[in-house]
Symmetry: C2
Subunit: 385 residues, 2 copies
Amino acid sequence: MNYFSSNFKLGILGGGQLGKMMLSDTRKFDIQTYVLDPSDEAPCKIACDKFIKGDLMDFETVYNFGKLVDVLTFEIELVNLEALLRLEDEGLKVYPSPKTLKLIQNKGIQKDFYASNEIPTANYQRFTDLKSLVVAIIESKIKLPFVWKCTEFGYDGNGVKVIREVSDLDNLANVECIAEDMIPFKNELAVIVCRSPSGEIKTYPVVEMEFHPEANQVEYVICPARIDAKVAEKARIIALNVSKKFNHVGLLAVEMFQTDDDEIIVNEVAPRPHNSGHYSIEASYTSQFENHLRAILDLPLGNTESKVAGIMVNLVGAEGFSGNVVYENIEKILAWNGVTPHIYGKKQTRPFRKMGHVTIVNSNIVEARRIAENVKNTIRVISQQ
Amino acid sequence: MNYFSSNFKLGILGGGQLGKMMLSDTRKFDIQTYVLDPSDEAPCKIACDKFIKGDLMDFETVYNFGKLVDVLTFEIELVNLEALLRLEDEGLKVYPSPKTLKLIQNKGIQKDFYASNEIPTANYQRFTDLKSLVVAIIESKIKLPFVWKCTEFGYDGNGVKVIREVSDLDNLANVECIAEDMIPFKNELAVIVCRSPSGEIKTYPVVEMEFHPEANQVEYVICPARIDAKVAEKARIIALNVSKKFNHVGLLAVEMFQTDDDEIIVNEVAPRPHNSGHYSIEASYTSQFENHLRAILDLPLGNTESKVAGIMVNLVGAEGFSGNVVYENIEKILAWNGVTPHIYGKKQTRPFRKMGHVTIVNSNIVEARRIAENVKNTIRVISQQ
């Protein structure tokens, strides 16, 4: 198959920042891309060959979009699964497979999959709705504290809450959910696995994540994780195993906890390029986005090792600011060594909205971490006064 | 000035591969770009905010385009100089300045500039046309062999010819030209200098170039050049001096010869991102394209040092093939360590047409050179049968 400067068409469901960063590699390879997204202001709008505005959850819209392309992928899990299953049945190459997506899209099903495949994960119980969860608490079939997660449509902290007392359940949506044991952990880790249809498989180094306490969004991603090599290798093996069990094609980001006694348990996975891999654009021999393309097109996978240490800082909208975005002090951080801002192109900021990220690369990880902290304390995503 | 996700507009004259690679950084920063190019199939067509089709040499077209933007730059020297001078007089920021471009656009004027500024360069004589050059030979005011260069519109070997006997002049265009002494040299070197309006200045490492004997196009660019450190520093100092003398803003690629006795003489310059800096996308902390943007927007310049060794191989159309392009064996080279193809997006190939390049990065330059040779001997730019 000739992908390069040819009539081949890659379809991408979702036109957000992940798609936008993928497009920089489809442009590099001159691979034609069609993008479907509901928003006129999608970050992907201008660097694809064809942008189609439409609802990603609508069967007809997704099905008809799939009919226009030769290979179909997605940059967001919230897409119409039935349409993808139909397209795959009709012979379209859909990567990752909707059969895999089906196991991941619903966190209850995802947890059941781990359990049945002996993948280490926190104990949990599934509930069809909030009421039955409350009943379980009253009947003390479940103990406080625990982590409540809605099984679908959760994203970046929405749909996840620590429940310490019953009143914490107030104002939660009455939806299907799981109650997960709270696991005391030292570190949150992630490993991105890349796998092609012909079975070639590679892992990126284990990264270490720090989350913002309120927004529950990643604040720093540090590559490589500053952990014991044995623990890192354990995490890598588990991630490889998860990818194989899912028979996954493309990128699979495996988020894990390192417990106090150095056990590794799987938290959840994302079947796409992931925030924990953004550092790879500057730090790795082959970025996660290029490797996702290589994988779904069944091309040889690129080198996942790092050239230098990489640290990523998310740029989220500052509290108290909404409206036309301004990146305050961006010219200051540009003066520092190895600092690269990525601006996603969202014109409007609001508190905690993901507006971009900054990568800091350095041959010395301690120096990179120092600069990253300065970056975090200097740049602010605010709005025009 | 707020450039990021704002109403600011950067204008780029020329929509070729240099512009295309620049757009990947304007996209990264979400800086709005307008591009002017005569071709409907320009590589820049889809990743800019607005593409305007028009003649780069036409005064009205360039002038009117300049009126639409806040800062104007170019990715090719063959643009209407009068329009740029007018726009600059009227207060538009045009970088590099047309006053600088005027000194560079005509190779005769460029050589005079070196002479009057004591910048080492090969001896030369200027001629208004081919006839007067022939007369000078007959009157033995000039000795064979020498290098003939037309003063304008030369590009990638067109417009340059070694004259060993008078008959070599047959079929040369009857245009303004220079006759330059042939200098025996060990190496062709280049240094890319980056300078901002406020005078911040940085140089990329000295690179070493190998040319294709017939096409006179660069075959390998090797960074860092495998030369003595003293010679490299001498080349760097001369390049810095050239940039300052031109009072240049943006990127200036300075091509030089290392003579047999290790003197450095300037061959010619290009006031834009340059083929000799493509390796920087993968090998440098900050690519030449990002630093060109930083410079012309008067933002702090990025680190020009390398993370790893980088070697670039040009992808030019194979002899005997014209038509719809096919990149034969590209899947083979993708399997090798640190290999990144860049496909410019030209649908039609023809002999020696620049269709793309491949960057090979490695912590070991010897290994990089070995892989680069394999890449060169494996991938072929041919046409569909």
